[in-house]
Amino acid sequence: MSSGKRILVKGNDAIGMGAIKAGCRFYFGYPITPQNEIPEFMSRELPKIGGEFVQAESELASINMVLGASALGVRSMTSSSSPGISLMQEGLSYMAGQELPAVVINVVRCGPGLGGIAASQGDYFQAVKGGGHGDYHLIVLAPASVQEMYDHTILAFDLADRYRNPAMVLADAILGQMQEPIVEREEEVQEPRKPWALTGAKGRPARHIKSLLLKEGELESHNRLLQEKYREVQKHEIRYNELEVEDAELVVAAFGTSARIARTAVSKARSEGLKVGLFRPVTLFPFPGERLRVLSARVKNFLVVEMNTGQMVEDVRLNVSGDASVFFYGRPGGAIPTPMEVYERIVKHYKEQ
């Protein structure tokens, strides 16, 4: 990261800035709180730089506009929040099947249903296990600061293009609404060539992008190739952060805003002499399970903190070794676990050891 000027930016705006920095010139979206600043930013900025902002008639239309733009090889994106993202599930499954790269932002709010507009992490499963039909994965990034809202948006474009796969930035209402200093990236973003894109069949045979594969065995092979690709992603793109896990007796695992809250709790615990560490998955798919496996060879207590009723905790359980204990603390429906509450759980489970 360059040592440029720090500027105070709202999380949602940082996403818009990151997208433009990444070379995204085509935004398609439909308003929904708490991410309206993204379409608003794009509607203001894109026309200035020769891009196009289209307010789609719905999230269904948004994702399909993105699908179309992406098929032509340009970088494009959409953003929404939980109910709107649910409406995109068919389109996301198609894009995964068609291997189309694009970036989808989910500034998660609380559900189920209309729920509310407060922050939540209730869409982890949907993002990570595949809310649409069929065997596929999105690449899922979980920023935890406004700087990362910017950085992850750029990274999402890069990963999406590298793996020809839709990538999702899974933020939440707090990250979308808060302001923090960020430093903009100075180096140019490199857009890869896209020899698969539809550009008109000039001087080459016609190309098709499709997910319907009717010939015997064709769809199975395609699925196996997709799985192969996901394994590649798992091999190369796992990212996570750690804080004082080296000597930790208990490790708190949390992503996004929960990790920020947990960080405060962990610091307090450390300051009171408890050997506690923090493990933050930065990529949710690929999930840093291997690292958890390694950690759990030594650490026998994990506390997973989420703003939901327990979703990532399943992936933690799937990965830690059999004799490690995995505790969970979460609050659903827009309630935010406080640092104090997390601290109390740390103390509780630390003692239980």
């Binding site: 239309a61 733009a69 550009t199 190309r207």
Partner: protein
């Protein structure tokens, strides 16, 4: 002797999977002729629907993408906005366009997207085995209107061309029938005009084609052609409903 009628270069030689007498083939040819005529094959991207025409990428020599059921107009919008130099056409059936994709077609039309939509109305869901479509005629039996379409429970057959013509955003709207040679030639002219609108940046163009589905109508090809004249055209009148002379664009 020289050939005076050949397959357009826009189409390849594959045997099409359509049933005998199915109207899709003729419509494919007319679209292909338009691509040839304007010499735009190598800068055209087609959007295939989900419906019997989903396999159209096996027949056209231009780039083609498959859109989710009903969403071709949104996909086409995403394309045209990002590459206005390309010619984008969407090809849709009546289930695709008039039922599940109604919001997308109306809004693309209303935004005046500079794309061409070819709408194949065969009054039935061909691909899935002949269920009722929004365009199914009153009284028509289908697998989901086994007692005939009933206006009390199923509503009226919807007239898309007329509806879209009322929108300010549409530049060209026409309906033709794929039955007699004369009507096919009229359809051809309209399809050419629709692509011409796009080539000239004149905005949204839409051609509805009344076609046969002998398989799901339970008729011979011959009877199907007759049905177009006797039953379809009386309810779905033919003609050019709208034709802007100049683009609205400022």
């Amino acid at each position: 002797m020289k050939p005076v009628f050949s397959k357009p270069k826009a189409l390849n030689d594959a045997v099409m999977h359509y049933c005998p007498g199915c109207g899709h083939g003729v419509v494919h040819r007319l679209v292909g002729e338009a691509l040839d005529h304007f010499d735009i094959l190598d800068r055209t991207v087609g959007v295939a629907p989900v419906g019997c025409a989903v396999l159209m990428y096996d027949y056209f020599n231009c780039d083609i993408i498959e859109a989710p059921h009903g969403r071709p107009p949104a996909v086409a919008t995403g394309m045209k906005r990002s590459r206005p130099d390309l010619i984008i056409f969407a090809y849709q059936g009546d289930g695709d366009l008039a039922s599940i994709g109604l919001a997308e077609i109306v809004h693309a039309a209303n935004r005046g997207e500079n794309v061409t939509v070819i709408f194949v109305n065969n009054t039935v869901y061909g691909m899935t085995g002949g269920q009722m479509a929004p365009t199914t005629l009153l009284g028509q039996q289908t697998t989901t209107s086994p007692y005939g379409r009933n206006l009390n429970t199923d509503g009226y057959p919807i007239r898309m061309a007329e509806m879209l013509a009322t929108l300010e955003g549409t530049s060209y709207v026409a309906r033709h029938a794929i039955d007699t040679p004369a009507n096919i030639l009229r359809a051809r002219k309209s399809i050419f005009r629709a692509f011409e609108m796009q080539v000239k940046d004149m905005g949204f163009s839409f051609v509805e084609l009344l076609t046969t589905c002998p398989t799901n109508w339970g008729m011979s090809s011959r009877e199907s052609i007759r049905r177009i004249k006797e039953e379809l055209i009386p309810y779905f009148p033919l003609g050019v409903f709208k034709e802007k002379e100049v683009a609205d664009y400022i």
